[in-house]
């Protein structure tokens, strides 16, 4: 693997899940692989799970680790081409990527979308420019359009349930704020790539990017979709059609025990952070069916597998 921008950068997802589960059993197996090499994690946005799972994963591989919180620690960056830089930004991504490539062997980047202009966000400007100008491998720690480390961890978590060909429902949830599409985008892509049995449930107006969801059945009635479900993956996202907006939609999409009762005793998943009693009721999140802690734990092995693959730069180990 030469970079990890998208879940599709994992060539054989089934084999990767299997290898990641083996790595989870022996997390210090490659503890000297990264010796003398350095990872920098560049954050344009807040992070808890990604920040620390990636750090622990890098540590397990023997990598040196450095964190850059852009807004607090360095210069405002320019991403435009041929820009006359007489405004707010004082350093061009071309130099920043060159500098980081000079000092580090791996660059991981987190940059959320603005959710104002769809065309701009779809260009995934920050991640793509890091990838364009850096001369070392780039790892996506959630970009404007994708969160593949989360989705790879989710794939591992689903495999661990040992449910045979589970029916998975990706179910939209209410939320007071405008939230990115990166997690559902990557989750849908991952499910398709792994050949999983996925359906999506969301209110009208909240259909995801149709180029991503093509071939997936989308329900506009939540309860209907839950029938025989083995896994409910709950997640809010803002409107894709009315881009970035929080629509005045029926708020009765929160997951509660009554809805879970409609399923085949389904497991509950969420990538976190989660707004309790808005996205999901306490009773569901705290139940024995909740997989959120496993998802958290599998973030480490997912990141470790990805960095291992990049460091060895061969299809599998």
């Amino acid at each position: 693997m030469k970079k990890f921008l998208s879940i599709s950068d994992i060539p054989d997802l089934d084999k990767a899940i299997k290898n990641a589960l083996e790595l989870k059993e022996d997390s210090m197996k490659f503890s000297t692989l990264g010796k003398g090499k350095n990872l920098v994690m560049v954050f344009f946005n807040p992070s808890l799970r990604t920040r620390f799972s990636t750090k622990i994963a890098a540590q397990n591989l023997g990598l040196g680790i450095t964190t850059l919180d852009v807004a607090q620690q360095t210069w405002p960056l320019e991403f435009g081409l041929n820009t006359i830089m007489d405004g707010h930004t004082s350093e061009h991504i071309k130099e920043a990527a060159m500098v980081l490539s000079s000092y580090f062997d791996l660059i991981a980047v987190r940059s959320f979308p603005q959710l104002k202009n769809r065309d701009i966000d779809l260009k995934d400007v920050v991640l793509k420019n890091f990838s364009k100008y850096a001369t070392v491998p780039i790892i996506n720690m959630e970009s404007a359009t994708a969160h593949p480390l989360q989705s790879f961890a989710d794939a591992i978590t689903i495999r661990e349930t040992k449910i045979n060909n589970p029916k998975i429902v990706l179910s939209w949830a209410p939320h007071p704020k405008s939230i990115p599409h990166s997690v559902p985008n990557s989750f849908v892509k991952m499910c398709k790539q792994a050949g999983m049995n996925l359906v999506i449930a969301n209110p009208p107006g909240y259909d995801l990017d149709p180029t991503i969801t093509s071939g997936i059945k989308v329900f506009h009635h939540q309860e209907e979709s839950f029938e025989n479900a083995d896994i409910i993956y709950s997640k809010n996202w803002s409107s894709y059609e009315s881009y970035g907006q929080v629509l005045p939609t029926d708020q009765n999409w929160m997951i509660d025990l009554a809805k879970m009762d409609l399923t085949n005793r389904a497991k509950f998943m969420h990538c976190l952070p989660v707004r309790r009693n808005v996205v999901v009721e306490d009773e569901v999140l705290d139940s024995e069916h909740s997989l959120i802690q496993r998802q958290v734990q599998n973030r480490t092995v997912a990141a470790q597998y990805v960095m291992h693959q990049i460091l060895t730069n061969v299809p599998t180990y």
Copy 2:
């Protein structure tokens, strides 16, 4: 030791001081004890001494070290029970503590009080919730009501003076801002636990929490209290009765050389940061009687002893 929330979590303070002084002589004695284990230090507030003494202490024990500055690096946290999270906070402490427990072996937390509402501050909501929901040991790096790492370091510093049963005065000092009670609270508790000869001097209206100071003589005239004192521990705190307020009190409580002359050639202590020429005059702080540098140095061994005890999880080593 399974946690360190309060100075009373040290079962035998006298023995702990003795052991800490031994550890100070050979700070690398347990340099592999923490190998493969990780500490995260969670800061809701500024920190200099605590931040770095805890880091160096952890390093001396071979622990991996991670810092989280909450406001700059992660999501705003919710501490309410059964809250409908449709406001500013986006992650519940329940998940945050689970996540940190998944990635780390020790969690140290600093969170100051708001000093607006006494009942709320006395609940020590942040520290107590970390302790409630984390599944790994919690270390108090100063909470709304207590700063036991400071007081343990102070106990070590007092022992190092080799003064036999010193008379100690905890003397209130002026300050332009509203300051927490955590340091004096823990200092009083420590002195009582160690059977030290402590009196308190503060202006009327500044009496500390009576459940903590019970049995300790409180002077409302400073100079009277200084007679025969061997150690003056200077510290500001806001009013406990008129909770969090800075009262229009006589400002003549600053420590100067004339007041030190009333004592038995007393040593001067302060936990820092200290406002020069407001809390204490330069001449006193810079004198040979000042123990502030020793207090600073002993913060490292105090933290190292506490983490050693937690890592070995036995009463003494």
Copy 3:
């Protein structure tokens, strides 16, 4: 070397450049020299190159590394003498330097000027006070008046060009903001110390501190100065005479290909960050004559040489 506040703290610059180039060939040669010792990097301002080159350099020497971003992580510092600290600042540099000296073996500091009052900035208050009150060596990571790590890296970069006695032009460039004099100050000092053939080109009103530039020819016409130049070092600075001001000056000082054609096929240098198409055109910055990446790479070896010299505390290794 006992400290590194100024380029003049390197006693024999020629020998230092030679030794640094040897160190660059074998950067792990002294990888255990710093074992058990700790560096703290104190930032009052943003940093990218300095932050990471110093970190990697320290890592190559086996030092423990800690970063302090003052504004986000600790108390506001007071630098006044005999101040009554009843205002915004809550900790005096005297204590802060003592505390850092207690926990660390090396202190590196970055603090920019305010560019409001020349007399104040020339006192280099932050760096000088750290140096005054710390009991461990201080390293200047760019102060109000000097950036010697940059200039030492620049000296190494110039040597690497293998141009025999190159003619160097330090050429002022336009910029929308008020920018410090630290980089040009140290660059001029370095060139004089190394006996390099330097001239300066800047518009009227932008002459640098004459005590620094004494003996150096200053052109007020840019193109004239470029004749036979082997190296163009481009850099903006605010006015020194009309201190800190951005004067309504002819903006035609940007470096473009036409101007580079006036030279002896000169190399282009800039310390970064650089405002593209304001300070220099894309075509020049991206050309094969640009040395900016080498300058970036040589920041690591410059910092590593300096810390090596301080750790061994002998003139050369």
